[in-house]
């Protein structure tokens, strides 16, 4: 037995890793992919208007805007964009401006783009964030329970139901909910995030927000739920057939422990990855839902901007949204690294 002990301790000796390797292990491999994507968006934003034929100011603001502008504004804008200088100077000005948080001037709202967006962003984050959390939580739990009792009537009906639901485009579900609850039944408000001019304070204010949030949130959750549920369920089914579950059962672990501590915990891994891939969908969903419910988030803002051909605003929104998506993806990747020890302690 002593020989065995000696042999074993010899094997584990090179656990020391260099500092550089440790640092590299902290960041997910996708990091430079994100940086490249970010750079690409910045460049696209810069190049696109300047590639259009004709007057760059017209390209940036569009024909309609130009007609509406006064000559003073025009001169001011030309100075701001350094349109009278060389491309390289323009690029410098652009990058400098970005670093300072200057995203341009919205002609429709007659404000700095960054101001306009910051007014709308919190609402969108509230909606999307809550939707993600709720959908993930419900999807996970339903998926675990369903996967554990595979083939039961609960499982079969859930799968059929959610597969059907998942086929509907998000905006249509929003529309349906709007029509049923707001128009026909008149139970919940038709639009907006708060009741205007109502002057609510404190708890009443929060309650008002929730009432307005209910339908948009429900639409988004319903749309996301299907995917998360199905993925969790399928992962559970394959996990439960694996050898380590047999070991766990042989230990005498009760059902709840097997379901959550073991199989459930393991199914978090593919679900996390999928969530990362799902975030763009989430954003598009929010976009459409906000339009349907006239919810004053970034989505509605984009809609208005497109209708009004307010290009700086459009670009600004797209930039912010892309930045948010990339950041979230990055965070999800970090989370995955924490969750999966095989990645963290790679041989």
């Amino acid at each position: 037995m002593n020989n065995a002990v000696e042999k074993c301790s010899l094997q584990g000796q090179d656990r020391e890793q260099s500092i550089g390797k440790r640092l590299r292990n902290l960041f997910p491999a996708s990091f430079h992919g994100y940086l490249i994507a970010l750079a690409a968006i910045f460049l696209l934003n810069f190049i696109l208007p300047r590639l259009m034929p004709g007057d760059p100011l017209q390209a940036i603001y569009g024909q309609e805007a130009l007609v509406a502008m006064t000559p003073e504004m025009e001169a001011e804008l030309i100075r701001q964009f350094s349109l009278d200088k060389s491309w390289w100077d323009q690029l410098q000005a652009y990058v400098l401006g970005l670093l300072q948080g200057d995203l341009g001037f919205s002609y429709y709202y007659r404000e700095q783009v960054s101001q306009v967006i910051m007014g709308a962003l919190p609402w969108t984050l509230l909606l999307t964030g809550l939707a993600l959390i709720i959908a993930t939580a419900i999807g996970l739990i339903l998926g675990i329970e369903s996967g554990f009792k595979r083939g039961s009537s609960l499982d079969r009906s859930l799968v059929a139901c959610l597969m059907f639901l998942g086929g509907f485009p998000d905006f249509f579900i929003g529309i349906l909910l709007l029509l049923i609850f707001a128009v026909s039944l008149d139970v919940l408000p038709l639009s907006g995030a708060t009741s205007p001019y109502a002057g609510y304070e404190g708890l009443a204010y929060i309650f008002d927000i929730l009432r307005h949030l209910a339908l948009p949130l429900a639409s988004m959750v319903l749309v996301q739920l299907g995917g998360i549920f199905l993925l969790t369920r399928n992962t559970m089914v394959t996990l439960l057939a694996e050898s380590f579950i047999l070991t766990v059962r042989a230990k005498g672990c009760p059902e709840s422990c097997i379901k959550y501590a073991h199989a459930g915990r393991n199914s978090l891994l593919p679900v996390t990855t999928a969530t990362g891939l799902r975030i763009p969908q989430l954003i598009t969903g929010a976009l459409f839902i906000e339009i349907v419910f006239s919810y004053p988030g970034v989505g509605s803002l984009l809609n208005t901007a497109i209708d009004a051909r307010d290009y700086p605003l459009i670009q600004g929104i797209l930039l912010i949204v892309t930045l948010t998506v990339l950041t979230t993806n990055f965070l999800v990747d970090l989370l995955y690294m924490r969750l999966d020890p095989r990645v963290r302690y790679a041989h």
């Binding site: 037995m1 301790s9 584990g12 070991t247 042989a250 230990k251 005498g252 999966d340 020890p341």
Partner: protein
Amino acid sequence: MMLSIKDLKVSFGKTQILRGVDLNLERGDCLALVGESGAGKTTLGMAIMGLARGSATGEISFQEENLLAISKEELRDLRGRKMAMVFQNVEDALDPVQRIQDQIAEAILVHRSISAKIAGEEAAMHLNSVGLNSGKASMYPHQLSGGEKQRVLIAMALVNDPDLLILDEPTASLDALTKAEIIRLFQSAIMGRICIVITHDLSLAASLAERMAVLYAGRIMEMGRTEDLLRNPRHPYTRGLIRSYPAMTATKDLQGILGRMVHGLPGCPFHERCTQRIDICSLQVPPQLEKDGRIIACHRGGIVPLLEIENLSLAFGSHYALLDVSLSLNEGETLALVGESGSGKTTLSKVIMGLYEADRGAVVLEGRRVNKRDSAFYSRVQMIFQNPKESVSHRMNVLDAVQEPLQVQKIGSHEARHRRVKEVLGLVELPVDDDFLKRYPHELSGGEVQRVAIARAIALGPKLLIADEPTSALDPSVQAKILKLLMDLQDKMGLAMLLITHDIALARKVSDRMAVMHKGRIVEEGATNEILINPQHAYTRRLVDCASGRYEIENGEIVIMEEPVALEKYC
């Protein structure tokens, strides 16, 4: 502390995997459960633990409780606490996202309400006791080697000091060196518990368990002391299993068992592959009967002795050619009769065949004393001789030669005999076209004529073939082929063979048992590998040493060297 299984049947869907298993184990017993894959070994282990799929009937009585009758909750409580199992697939047997220590601690916490901290300390202690240092405790499964993972699984199983421990192929995924270490670990782990080791590895069974049960298609075929079973298997399936297993001490070439395992056959599950089956075998399931500490499930009581020679003596004048010779040859077995020229080997074969009449003693075939050699006898016992060109008449062509015994015994019509000739020629791998059938012995090679002689001998479908120096007149390369052919025929037709030869090296390769004759007496008899590794009689030792080249010629005499010598010569 008792485990008692009565008539356990497990079926899954339409297949019945366990067809009535009976077992009794006391505390401290260690039983090896062996058999081919698909026999139901793992299912038995899982059924005891309550983890088997499908439905189970019968009784599994563990510490006075019927495990099949208690509730799922009670069963779950026993699992991991009073009974534990270590599974075969080590690679994926641990949860990849939890640390080792936590997984072991979980086994403790599920059954005892103590603090997590204490459980962690106990877990670390158990890890130490299986030879893993505490540094490993905070690691994840993918950071450990196969052998280390196996140790973790053992520690996990032992953590609550279970009374019953089931090991399923515990060393299957380990290399030879790791395997040896783990076996030592197991030997200390199983003390004081009831242990069932499921394996197809007979040497593992030998090193861990003192009792062994052989499972085939869901029924126990033979059960007894491991050592006894391995040295002297009494069930035809057990013998076949041992013959097909490469052990360091085995000398005979590997032989398989014809056919494959099929579940759900009526009667004895092995009957279609058994060479000594009778009618009842396909109708009734044989009961497990005990005899001399061995439990055997066979309608014929195990391997039956085919030929028994009792105290045969034959004298030519004052010289005893055979003196008090007693021998027994079992069904489906090859017995090599070795000795120098003039030891009486050939005389014995002639007495058996009735060419000589013994003065005293008896020849017993299939339990009945043979008084005269009639056609019934010759259809059961046939012989092939040393010199093929002489044993086949040069006036007969192939067809005539092979069908001669059929003609003599008046079996079948002309066409039927013709067909049988072609059939047996096919069995000995000779051409069956008309051109070949018309050939004469002088037109064939030595090997081909010997094959014709063999074909002739098996035309009547005998159970015993006596082969008197069948290859000494042939070239060595042909010799190998003929012997392989004889082994093949043994497999296919269930032939028993009495091989008479002076070549010990040859006997070593093809025989299960050996009898050594010297001056008309049998001086030693037993399993071939045992006799050759450890010869008891002085004459046998001399024969073996000479055959191995361990001798010198001094003054015209053979002198055996005392010290063991490096085998330079090819022996």
